[in-house]
Symmetry: C2
Subunit: 156 residues, 2 copies
DNA sequence: AATATTGGTTCTATTATGGAACTATGTCAA
DNA sequence: TTGACATAGTTCCATAATAGAACCAATATT
């Protein structure tokens, strides 16, 4: 199976990965959430080739994750900003951070810590049940066929 | 920057992606969480080449996400099982599911829905603050330098 | 002895990526 | 009015990664 066929499965993980699942995209989005909007700044902070960066940004715009907006004319220049669809990827980023903090910190503790503006405390994000608020682990959850699944095969 | 240098940044997202950030790994882990343990079953359900599958499983074992255990001898056969480190990736998968359900369902609704065994209700996972339980969005959280960051550069 | 089962490895053609050089549109200073 | 600077790309080529098919290995079954 080639990568461009990956989103054809009735699986939300595969479909999400078809948008953000390549090697650079989630790092690009990390920069977006840190306020980066311009091509040169992405390039400099990410250390990726302009070639790939250009391609990836364009695709993210096509996929509705970023939008390209002029910030000046003469010469016309654009910047890349998160759409609502893009902003909604924040929990994905945070859960990646959480795992990296716990398992990949090289014994030095997390490189970045987070203060929750709401309650003022340092927070470690937890994925919880929307209905009862309890944390969700693999064993706590029972997957069932949903409306998006007909006579189709696998999914998650 | 090449991919094998990516984990050298003081950034938990980059470090996590250095383990699970290639095109197939998170789909392999999806299967693990659905109970798949054997090479042939991974191959059949994922539709990826044996070549890549073999390579990826091996790397996941090296990285401590899966462990390889014999389930019979004569002939000796192994299966791949999630370690604690691997199981802890569940929130990453669930947050990918959540986004795909919301933005990539092609108007048909989610392919899979989840019942929380704890409270018995259908649940949509929410990332919340460990301290106060409120949902966390990008604007609700203030990143600060953590102990893992010294004179280093960027991070998240 | 031939076939099946499971779990791989090897090989080659195709595709993706990194990195350097080049292009385009303007500004500004000498 | 020429030359340097700034921003945002695009083009080109060598290298790396991937898909897919064929092959290999240990043992069981017929």
């Amino acid at each position: 199976m080639r990568w461009d066929e990956i989103d054809q499965q009735p699986c939300s993980i595969a479909r999400t990965l078809s948008v953000v699942g390549d090697r650079w995209t989630l790092l690009i989005l990390r920069e977006c959430f840190m306020g980066v909007r311009r091509f040169e700044v992405f390039e400099e902070r990410l250390g990726m080739s302009r070639h790939r960066l250009s391609d990836r940004l364009q695709r993210l715009v096509e996929d509705g994750v970023l939008r390209k907006e002029p910030y000046q004319d003469k010469p016309l220049r654009h910047e890349y900003r998160l759409t609502d669809k893009g902003k909604d990827l924040y929990p994905v980023l945070l859960s990646l951070v959480r795992w990296g903090d716990r398992w990949m910190d090289q014994g030095k503790g997390p490189p970045v810590i987070y203060r929750h503006r709401g309650c003022g405390k340092l927070t470690t994000p937890v994925l919880t049940c929307s209905e009862c608020g309890e944390p969700l682990g693999a064993r706590d959850v029972m997957p069932l066929a949903g409306p998006g699944l007909r006579a189709d095969k696998q999914g998650a």
